[in-house]
Structure formats: C-alpha cells, structure tokens
C-alpha cells in the first residue's frame, strides 16, 4: 500500500513530538516518576507511534521509517523494562544488607574459590618442601627470595623507617594493584572460568610457598604478625573476586539452566557488580593496613597486638559476610 505520505506525516507529527518530549524527560531524569495519567498517555503515544511504524511498508520511505524506529526503540526500552532502576543510592543499606546477602547467595562459588586457592597453597608448600630451589621460580617478590630468619633479624633491628615519606603512595599502589587483580579475576570468568581458576591457584601457590618458607625457618610468629593485619581482609577479597568470576563463568556455561545465555548473564549482572564493589572497599582497608601497620614489626608493634588485630578483623569480616542483613532477608 502506498500511503499519502505528507498527510501521514502531518497527522502523526504531533504525537511523535509529544512522545519525544516524554522520552527526553524520562532520559534526562532517570529517577523521575510519571503520574498514572502520564503513564497512560505515554503508553498510548508508544502504541500510536508503533502503529504508524507498521503502517509504513518496509521500503516505503526510509527516513520517516528510521525516525519512527528510533522513537519506538527508545519508548520500548522504557515501557517494557521490568527490572527495577534503583538509581538512588542507599550506601548504608547496600553495604550492610545487599553485599553480604549477595555473598551468601553465591556461597558455593566462594567455597570453590577457597578450595582452588587451598589446593594452590598445598601445592606451593609441597613444591618448596620437595625442592627448595623452586622458591626462585614461585616467589615473584625479590625481597622474599632471601633467608626468612635474616629478613626478620634485619627488620626487627631496623633503626630507620624504610617507608618514611612513602607510606601513602605505597598504600595507594597496593589498593590500585590489588583491585586490578580482583577485577581481572572477575573478568577472567569469561574464559569459562579457566582464567579465574588459574589466577586463584597461582595466588594460592605463592601464599603456600611463602608461608611454608617462614614456618620452616621458625618464623611463624613474624609471618602471622606480618600477614594477618592486612591478609585476613585482602585474601578473602581476592577470593570474593574469584567467586564473582566463577559466578560469571557459571552463567556463561549454564549447567542445569535452560534459560538462554542472555537471560543467564542478565540474572547475575547485579550480583557481579555488588561483589566487585564490595571487594574494592575491602581492598581499600587492606591497603591502608598493609602500608601503615603490617610493614612494622616488633619492637615497634608487638606481634601479639598485630595477630590479635588480624584475628579481630577476621572475626568481624566473617560476622559481616555470614550474618549481616540476614534478618532483613528473612523478613
């Protein structure tokens, strides 16, 4: 059917322009609410515009058709979106409810991340136990390649603060570096989880090798005092990032889930965001502690105090992750 195009445009234009006005308002103010009458009018205009689009044959008039398609596409997104667009920030609620609830929702993925890391820890420790020379290959940090006892003696007798005038920048470096590694652990979930597993396993190997090296040298107290204040936050943070990567991989693979790929990925999107933002917050704290406390040993900070602080942090973190927001979830 060839329609009377000038008349078609003249009749439709007022409605199209009104719909454009609605869309401009909704797009510029994402949190604005329409009244019931406005919603009805908006819906009518969308249907009117969609109807005009169907009246135009596919090849009848490309410009007008493209214009109408753009309008219908924009309105379609607004009308048919059923997901909540919670753009108002509630940081307190998000931190104390949403984050721990999301963590618990994907507890199996966290358990898997922990198990992979622990296998890495055992592998790293065994590698050093059977082949002490493996330390040169496994440990990526030059200051950890020497004898642990010598390092402990050197640091405990240090007269000068080696981080003087560098603590803040060291802290910033730790925060950004660890956050990048965490984001990578999440992103590698797109390799069907293989990359995430390798990264977690490798982290475990380093941790196991370093821990075994210090324990074998009789420096367990130093090791705990050095690692615990920041490690009890940093290591779980990396594990949560790995958890997010495994959740992403799970959605990608879709075992036991018959929904299409897009729907599966859509379902975990908010959780991935929540987990990685939570990881970033944990790493900010860990970065501060590592730069300002962990690098100072007895006699500056007694080991019992550092180990005690680490234990309290770990208990609080566990309490937060496993209990926070559980009442709200039940109600």
């Amino acid at each position: 059917m060839i329609i009377d195009l000038p008349r078609f445009i003249a009749n439709g234009r007022p409605f199209w322009q009104e719909l454009e006005g609605f869309l401009a308002r909704l797009e510029s103010e994402p949190v604005s609410n329409l009244t019931i009458d406005e919603v009805k009018r908006f819906h009518f205009l969308y249907e009117r515009c969609a109807s005009d689009l169907t009246r135009l044959a596919a090849n009848a008039e490309p410009e007008t058709r493209a214009y109408l398609e753009t309008l219908v596409a924009r309105a379609y997104g607004e009308i048919h979106e059923t997901r909540s667009s919670r753009t108002r920030l509630h940081p307190f609620r998000w931190f104390f409810h949403t984050l721990p609830q999301t963590f618990r929702k994907h507890l199996r993925a966290f358990g898997l991340a922990l198990a992979i890391t622990m296998v890495g820890v055992i592998f790293g420790a065994m590698a050093l136990a059977f082949d002490p020379d493996a330390k040169q290959i496994i440990t990526p940090f030059p200051h950890l390649l020497g004898d642990p006892a010598e390092r402990v003696a050197r640091e405990e007798s240090a007269a000068n603060d080696r981080l003087a005038d560098a603590k803040t920048s060291f802290s910033a470096h730790l925060m950004t570096h660890n956050t990048k590694v965490s984001i990578l652990a999440l992103a590698l979930g797109m390799s069907w989880g293989v990359g995430t597993i390798i990264l977690l396993f490798y982290n475990g190997i380093i941790l196991g090798a370093v821990a075994f090296d210090y324990v074998r040298a009789g420096q367990t107290e130093f090791l705990l005092g050095w690692l615990m204040p920041h490690g009890v936050i940093e290591i779980p943070a990396i594990l949560i990032a790995g958890q997010a990567g495994l959740v992403l991989a799970g959605a990608l693979i879709g075992w036991g889930n018959r929904e299409p790929l897009g729907a599966r990925l859509r379902a975990v999107g908010t959780d991935l965001m929540t987990l990685i933002f939570g990881v970033a917050i944990l790493l900010i704290w860990a970065g501060f502690v590592e730069a300002f406390l962990s690098q100072y040993h007895a006699p500056v900070f007694p080991y019992w105090a550092k180990i005690g602080l680490g234990t309290v942090e770990l208990a609080l973190l566990a309490l937060f992750l496993f209990k926070s927001g559980s009442t709200a979830a039940k109600s």
């Binding site: 059917m1 060839i2 329609i3 009377d4 195009l5 000038p6 008349r7 445009i9 797009e27 249907e47 969609a50 689009l53 169907t54 044959a57 090849n59 009848a60 008039e61 490309p62 410009e63 007008t64 214009y67 398609e69 753009t70 219908v72 596409a73 379609y76 997104g77 048919h80 979106e81 997901r83 667009s85 753009t87 005038d165 560098a166 603590k167 803040t168 920048s169 802290s171 910033a172 925060m175 950004t176 956050t179 990048k180 984001i183 990578l184 999440l186 992103a187 590698l188 979930g189 797109m190 990608l252 790929l261 897009g262 990925l265 999107g269 908010t270 991935l272 965001m273 990685i276 933002f277």
Partner: protein, 252 residues
C-alpha cells in the same frame, strides 16, 4: 564490512531495527576516549605535581588513585549519565544499548567496563576486537557478559516531501483514470525508489542524474502510457516528480 542490523520484535508484533557499530568505528571512538583520558590525566598530573612541592608522598598517592579512578570511571560515568555514550562514542554517533532493546541498567555499564580488563589484552583490544569480528552482534566479551550492544545512530533528516510535490502544475493529473491505473500498477518499492531519487537529486553527478531519471521515467511509462499532451515538453525528472506526486499524495 557491511553494516549489520539487529531486528527486535516487540510483544505487540512491531519490528524495529538497530544498526550495529562495527569493530573499526568502535576502535576509533575508543581511541578518541583514550586521548581525552590522557589529556585529563596530563592536566591532573600538572596540578597534583604542584601539590608535590608540599608532600611528594601524598601527591604520588593522589596521582595513582586518580589515574585508576579516571581510567575506569571515565567510561562508566559517561555511559551511565549520557545513556550509553562517552565523548568518543557521541562524536562518532555510537551508543551502548541493551541487546534486547530494554533500558540500559547500571550494572550492565559496570560489567561491560570492568571486562575491558580482558578485552584489552594483550594489546590494543586484541581479545575484544577478535570477539567483535566473530560475533553476530559485534560484541566484545564485556558486551556479551553485560548483554549489551553498540549501535550507530545515523542522523535522520525528516524528508521535506512538500517542497518536492506541492505547488506545481501536474499535467498527469488531467487524466484521472490513468492516474488511478498508475497507483494500481506501481509497486511500493518502485515508488520509494523514485521518492529517494528526488530527495537525493542534488547529490548525483549531472550525467548520472539525467541517466537515472531517464531510466525511472521509462520504467513508469512502461507501467501506464499517458497521452503525449500530458508528457510533451516536460523533462524526465519532472515526469518522475509528477508520478511521485500522484503516488504519495491523494487528491483533496
């Protein structure tokens, strides 16, 4: 590479399409964004450097944190507040949208931007670019994870049909029965072709323009033969203009 189109069918049965942006134009837009980020960081580096006169430690820390925040937050903030566009994307008329035509959600913006970490590996978006080439919807890994696509938004001028067909004497309208037959015999696609030829007539080379309208006039004459008194003395282009007037404007 020819442009691909993603067709979306609404529950009401209406079909609309989105023009997908290819890897090359997306890379160019990204490069423009990199230039913007570099400029911002250069300026911040200068300002923070001044602060370094007081404390180099704090200045270095602020620079490290700012670099991290700007490099990640730039795309994230722009794509959220500009509804799927960064400066580079806006310049090249690109937009990130939901792959199913729905409203872009904040978590989609976050996920697609965080997954740049593997899309950029090992260099210059090699992983993301390769994924883009081989996926049906030109999606990099971040787009797949976030269920988003990047579309092109061409400038759509509203056709000024009135200036083509109104206010001129149409000799073909003297023969209403032939006019009716013409409406009956001409396909919608042929009518659209003629209309487009008229709308874009100034874009053609003079020789091509003469040739095109000669072909079109001959085609329409083969559909319905008007008497010579209706066609004498008018050019092929005017003949096509009269045909379009008949096809697209009803009398009254």
């Amino acid at each position: 590479m020819t442009s691909r189109v993603l067709k979306i069918r609404t529950p009401e049965g209406v079909v609309f399409s989105q023009i997908l942006a290819g890897p090359v134009v997306r890379f160019v837009a990204w490069f423009a964004d990199v230039l913007v980020i570099s400029a911002v960081m250069g300026l911040l580096g200068f300002l923070i450097g001044l602060f370094g006169l007081i404390s180099m430690d704090v200045a270095t820390a602020v620079y490290l944190l700012m670099y991290f925040v700007v490099s990640i937050g730039y795309s994230l903030a722009f794509e959220w507040f500009w509804r799927g566009q960064t400066l580079g994307k806006r310049f090249f008329r690109l937009r990130v949208v939901d792959a199913e035509g729905l409203k872009l959600q904040f978590h989609q913006v976050v996920v697609r931007n965080l997954l740049r970490f593997i899309d950029t590996l090992p260099l210059f978006y090699a992983v993301g670019g390769t994924a883009c080439w081989f996926t049906r919807k030109f999606q990099r890994l971040g787009d797949i994870a976030a269920n988003t696509i990047v579309i092109r938004i061409p400038k759509i001028p509203e056709p000024d049909i009135e200036q083509l067909v109104a206010g001129r004497f149409n000799s073909l309208r003297q023969f209403p029965h032939l006019e009716a037959r013409l409406r009956q015999n001409v396909e919608a696609s042929d009518a659209a072709l003629a209309l487009q030829a008229l709308l874009r007539r100034e874009d053609f080379d003079p020789a091509a323009r003469v040739s095109l309208f000669a072909d079109l006039a001959r085609h329409f004459q083969s559909k319905v033969a008007f008497p010579t008194e209706a066609t004498d003395g008018i050019s092929d282009e005017q003949y096509v203009r009269n045909v379009v007037d008949i096809l697209f404007r009803t009398r009254g």
